[in-house]
Symmetry: C2
Subunit: 90 residues, 2 copies
């Protein structure tokens, strides 16, 4: 029962990671703690699209937003995620 629960939670987290754009964003976020504008230029994608992906990762507890005046910057929220990214992207 509890075990099954874990699979559900883990699967949901993985689903939120399982998109090339989101991995690309995470790779930026873990290195640079960037604001949305910066991510937009780095990836060359439309702002709403980036915001949508960030929203998915926020809801999944993967990243955390921090307002800095006019802008919003992101960081990795969960240390477990950092470890996963190390394995995935290095």
């Amino acid at each position: 029962m509890t075990v099954k629960m874990d699979f559900d939670e883990s699967a949901q987290m993985l689903k939120a990671l399982a998109h090339p754009t989101r991995l690309h964003l995470l790779n930026l976020i873990r290195e640079k703690h960037p604001c949305v504008r910066f991510m937009e230029e780095s990836l060359g994608l439309a702002q709403p699209n980036i915001s949508q992906h960030l929203s998915i990762m926020r809801q999944a507890g993967i990243v955390q937003a921090e307002r800095d005046g006019n802008q919003v910057c992101y960081r990795i929220k969960n240390p477990r995620i950092s470890r996963l990214l190390d394995i995935l992207l290095d």
Copy 2:
């Protein structure tokens, strides 16, 4: 370019992991090197459904099938996957 490629590949691998049934199967597979019949009974799901999930993971290079007489047993193919599962499921 190559970097973008990596995100694509990693995302595809994650997509193949991102399902509770598949995580449950992988948890069995990494511990017991089981055949399909065993997984079927352990999870209490229909055989075609299990086979479908195994097929997805085979195609993604996550698991490897080995025929043993009448049965087919599975094992984790990629050591990177083992490390991911350690982080995810422990």
